[in-house]
């Protein structure tokens, strides 16, 4: 370890420790009814105003995905990695109205999770169970992506040992995270999100202003990127990428952006961030203000090209022996910034990975507790027992994600998130469409989920690795030629690529509509709807606030 790395490590550890202390202290912040109730632990009492929500949801949505995975994809593949910008721009207009309806109906009926809503809307534990399981499973690779980002930072600092020892720093970081999430619930990541954002904004503003000037301006940076991406990969015989979209990846770009935007607010952790806010106005203001992070995300994506111009080589992962593209941005910072500033930057990325990991594990724990434990295992559980279950479940989910990252090493960590997206998109008809209409029948939704999920996972299975051209689960982009309906290839031998999530979602919707038409014709009962039309527009008047919160438990 060099002298510079010692400085970086000390600054990283000091900031990390400060944040951990903050996490434990958060238990007492804005505390009302005590942390032994699920509403208090898992939604912080639904009391967050505009500012806290902005930091919380910002910390929730702009994660290691933004700081590590997207720039790594731009570094490796060029323009297609920039899909993350249209994704986060079209996101807010698309979800603006549905999210308000979800907040209102959840507030009226005390729903904590999206599966709670589905259960209330359709009176079906089965459909709620499917939505809950999908949420938990889809969240795990997303948490694993955060861990991959954190590990990339730790390895760049010099903690890059081989084998089991190489993962040890990650384990330590996650035990600390697990402990303060356990004791403080959602308040911990909300409070830490303030620190994270201040650090991130400081680092990014310096990086996006200083680095392009330092490396000769955008013209020469893009020239360097374009030259490197045009080099042919000896294994596949194709260029690795380009700075503009090609004929084969335009559809992929659009479907990735649209699919990711539709998926995001189906993830349980996004719903948690929304439900923790105290009124519709808070959400509306945030939908206007949150794109400030999108500008940041776009600028960070371009740092992938800056890394090319700077001649950065990905660090060789001490555990796998392979080059780890996730280390691109940390390596760029370590290479160009003085050691003290690089230390701050690393801490910012590391903390930026911990905040969403905490919220995600809380959201998955809420799902387990409300829609599996209480629905099937112990219907008579008290509020206190629910909260204890959720705390334990949050530990289990985090442990699962750690094992995920130790066991699996995809070439681009962004694929972890995109695979999760394919899964979570299959709950769109049950969660999002049912916010507006109950026309789709309960059994249509179940059948659509089964087909969408089955086909989606199968299509992911047949995608080979883009770097070697062999293997399975190599990404989320499928050539249209591989699409087959019972042996019929509707797109011939087309090499145009598409995001698997959208293909599976369309199949899901078609099956849901057809089955709905059939079961309606034979008059199968569709379950009881406990929500009323006016629930979807309800806002929170002050005097009923406490009452609503307590009935939610």
């Amino acid at each position: 370890m060099t002298g510079a790395q010692v400085t970086e490590l000390i600054i990283f550890v000091v900031l990390f420790a400060a944040v951990a202390v903050l996490g434990f202290m958060a238990a007492r912040w804005k505390s009302g009814g005590g942390l032994h109730q699920l509403d208090e632990w898992g939604l912080a009492g639904r009391r967050f105003g505009s500012w806290v929500t902005w930091f919380l949801v910002g910390g929730d949505l702009y994660t290691a995905y933004t700081f590590v995975a997207v720039p790594a994809l731009v570094f490796g593949s060029g323009a297609v990695g920039f899909y993350a910008l249209p994704y986060t721009v079209i996101l807010y207009p698309i979800v603006f109205l549905p999210v308000l309806r979800l907040w209102s109906v959840s507030r009226s009926h005390g729903y904590v999770t999206p599966a709670d809503f589905v259960r209330g809307r359709y009176g079906s534990s089965l459909l709620a169970f499917l939505v809950a399981v999908t949420g938990i499973v889809a969240t795990m690779p997303y948490i694993a992506l955060q861990l991959a980002g954190l590990e990339a930072v730790l390895r760049t600092i010099g903690l890059n040992a081989g084998g089991w020892l190489g993962h040890l720093p990650l384990f330590i970081a996650f035990i600390i995270l697990a402990l303060y999430t356990y004791s403080s619930g959602l308040r911990a990541p909300a409070l830490i999100a303030f620190v994270k954002d201040i650090l991130i904004y400081a680092v990014i503003l310096v990086a996006v202003i200083y680095l392009p000037i330092h490396f000769g301006g955008w013209t020469s940076i893009l020239d360097a990127a374009s030259t490197k991406l045009a080099k042919v990969n000896p294994v596949t015989g194709k260029p690795t990428g380009s700075v503009l979209l090609t004929n084969t990846n335009q559809l992929q770009y659009a479907t990735l952006a649209l699919g990711s935007a539709l998926a995001l607010f189906l993830y349980p952790h996004s719903v948690t961030g929304v439900l923790a806010s105290k009124s519709r106005t808070v959400i509306k203001r945030n939908m206007v203000a949150l794109p400030a992070y999108s500008l940041l995300l776009g600028l960070l994506a371009l740092l992938g090209y800056v890394a090319i111009a700077a001649g950065i080589k990905p660090l060789t992962n001490g555990a796998t022996g392979k080059a780890d593209t996730n280390t691109i941005i940390p390596a760029l910072f370590g290479h160009t910034f003085p050691a003290w500033f690089a230390g701050i930057a690393f801490a910012a990325i590391g903390i930026g990975a911990l905040v969403p990991a905490a919220i995600m594990s809380i959201a998955a724990a809420n799902l387990w507790t409300r829609n599996i434990y209480k629905a099937f295992l112990r219907p008579s559980a008290t509020g206190e027992q629910e909260a204890r279950q959720a705390k334990i479940a949050s530990l289990v989910v985090k442990l699962g994600a750690v094992l995920f990252v130790v066991a699996i090493n995809p070439s681009f960590s962004i694929d972890l998130q995109l695979i999760g997206g394919v899964l979570i998109l299959q709950t769109l008809p049950s969660v999002a469409i049912s916010l507006y209409t109950r026309w789709l029948h309960l059994w249509g939704l179940v059948a659509g989920w089964v087909v969408g999920m089955g086909w989606g996972v199968y299509l992911l299975y047949i995608i080979p690795s883009p770097t070697t051209g062999t293997g399975h689960f190599g990404g989320s982009a499928l050539a249209l030629a591989k699409l087959s309906l019972f042996g019929w290839h509707p797109f011939g031998a087309s090499t145009v690529q598409i995001y698997v999530g959208m293909v599976a979602l369309i199949a899901n919707l078609v099956v849901a509509v057809v089955v709905t038409a059939v079961v309606r014709a034979v008059r199968v009962p569709g379950g009881h709807d406990e929500t009323a039309g006016s629930d979807y527009q309800a806002d929170a008047p002050r005097d009923t606030e406490r009452e609503l919160t307590t009935t939610a438990v």
């Binding site: 105003g49 505009s50 323009a79 920039f82 910008l85 249209p86 721009v89 079209i90 807010y92 207009p93 698309i94 603006f96 109205l97 549905p98 308000l100 301006g217 955008w218 013209t219 020469s220 940076i221 893009l222 700075v243 503009l244 979209l245 335009q250 770009y253 659009a254 952006a257 649209l258 105290k278 009124s279 519709r280 106005t281 808070v282 509306k284 203001r285 939908m287 206007v288 794109p291 999108s294 500008l295 776009g298 371009l302 999002a432 469409i433 507006y436 209409t437 009323a532 039309g533 006016s534 979807y536 527009q537 309800a538 806002d539 929170a540 008047p541 002050r542 005097d543 009923t544």
Partner: protein
């Protein structure tokens, strides 16, 4: 997800905080159509070009940065035009809930 007609049910409380207007929330406003505008970003052939460049960045990149502002403008206009619409609350107060909270603490 397209906006659909508002669901107004018989259980809507008769108390009308809006003073004579129906409780509709934000659902019916024609301004909501603005939310579809940012979807132009999905039509990649329209901006997948190098020229014109801006400070060395190809059109492909700076056009999409400009779309961030377009997206904010669209959502802000919808927020601003639907802000004064009555919402269904149990109390008859029409003040912003944030203001109410501040007063409640004072």
């Amino acid at each position: 997800m397209p906006p659909t007609p508002p669901t107004s049910s018989p259980s809507t409380p008769p108390a009308d905080p809006g003073g004579g207007r129906r409780v509709t929330g934000a659902v019916l406003s024609p301004w909501n159509l603005l939310l579809l505008l940012p979807l132009v970003m999905l039509v990649t052939p329209w901006f997948n070009h190098t020229d014109p460049k801006l400070i060395g960045l190809p059109f492909f990149y700076w056009f999409q940065f400009a779309c961030v502002l377009l997206g904010v403008a669209c959502v802000w206009i919808v927020y601003a035009t639907t802000r004064r619409k009555p919402v269904n609350t149990v109390s008859a107060d029409r003040l912003d809930v944030d203001d109410l909270d501040e007063r409640g603490r004072a």
